[in-house]
Symmetry: C2
Amino acid sequence: MLGLQLPTDPRWVNLAEKSLEDILTDHAYCEQKAATSCISLIQLFPDKEELVRELAPIVTEEWGHFRMVLAELDKRELQLGRQRKDEYVNELLKFKKKGGSREERLLEHLLICALIEARSCERFRLLSLHIADDDLKQFYHKFMVAEAGHYRLFIDLAKKYSGEEMVKKRWKEYLTYEAEIMENLELRGDRMH
Amino acid sequence: MLGLQLPTDPRWVNLAEKSLEDILTDHAYCEQKAATSCISLIQLFPDKEELVRELAPIVTEEWGHFRMVLAELDKRELQLGRQRKDEYVNELLKFKKKGGSREERLLEHLLICALIEARSCERFRLLSLHIADDDLKQFYHKFMVAEAGHYRLFIDLAKKYSGEEMVKKRWKEYLTYEAEIMENLELRGDRMH
């Protein structure tokens, strides 16, 4: 459904559950970045009424997720660590078309958000299915559902502002590029991507 | 109570109510910056447990305020405009000590946040007392109360991490500097500061 071209190696779950403090820390910062990315979109495109009204509650939700992850760390007496460099997102950003019209830049921004949500969703699904701890299974299931909704929203907003055809074409290019990134990134249990 | 050394000229309220779309837009972005500023503090000091746990809900609250302002714009069929350069905050940032230990940088960051909350609180109070529209009187009263609480929280956090004496000394310096900024800034109805 998400269109991702390279499924994550399921052994990633085993790596992740061995470094729970790190994976939760990384997850927390992913939620934080999701919130600030929506805030940036609102700042850059305050004139796009539907975008602003749709994304304003998403910021609240993403920040709520940050706090849920923080609560999970506290419950397990684990510490929130420092934010790491996000190689996956940095690689994705390289594919973003520079310049162009405001509408083209909006499309790039929205599709990158959609892609990060899609990959996060795929990974939360794996965690929700295969992690040993039952509480964590449920914990990750909630995030999987939320990320799927956000992915859908970003794609819908892209279609609204750039049209179905344009989105289809560019989305395909992004999917191909994203699969290459995933192929080249080391599979590590201490990060979501 | 807030210790501000230069009260705002009450005529500012008359200017503000004449440019309601602008003042609400500016207010919305002040709330947005308050949210992202707390997010930055969390990112920079994830090891300060109390700070992270105290500020995480403040981000939710500040973003909720952004959405309240957005709803007020919608109700009045006004548009969210673009973000302006924030001269007040930029001037304040010039006073921030560069370098120093992490603890010193944290103190500077917290006191600047406290100061912006204090001045916003003072201005919301003026609006809540003197604006003609009764709905807006109540609207601004809510923000005044919230900002007073945040001012208190930032000062308390500063005291926790830097000690009472240090905070007292540096806060006095900030108050003096802030009064000079206010004296030199043009009084405009299209912005909160």
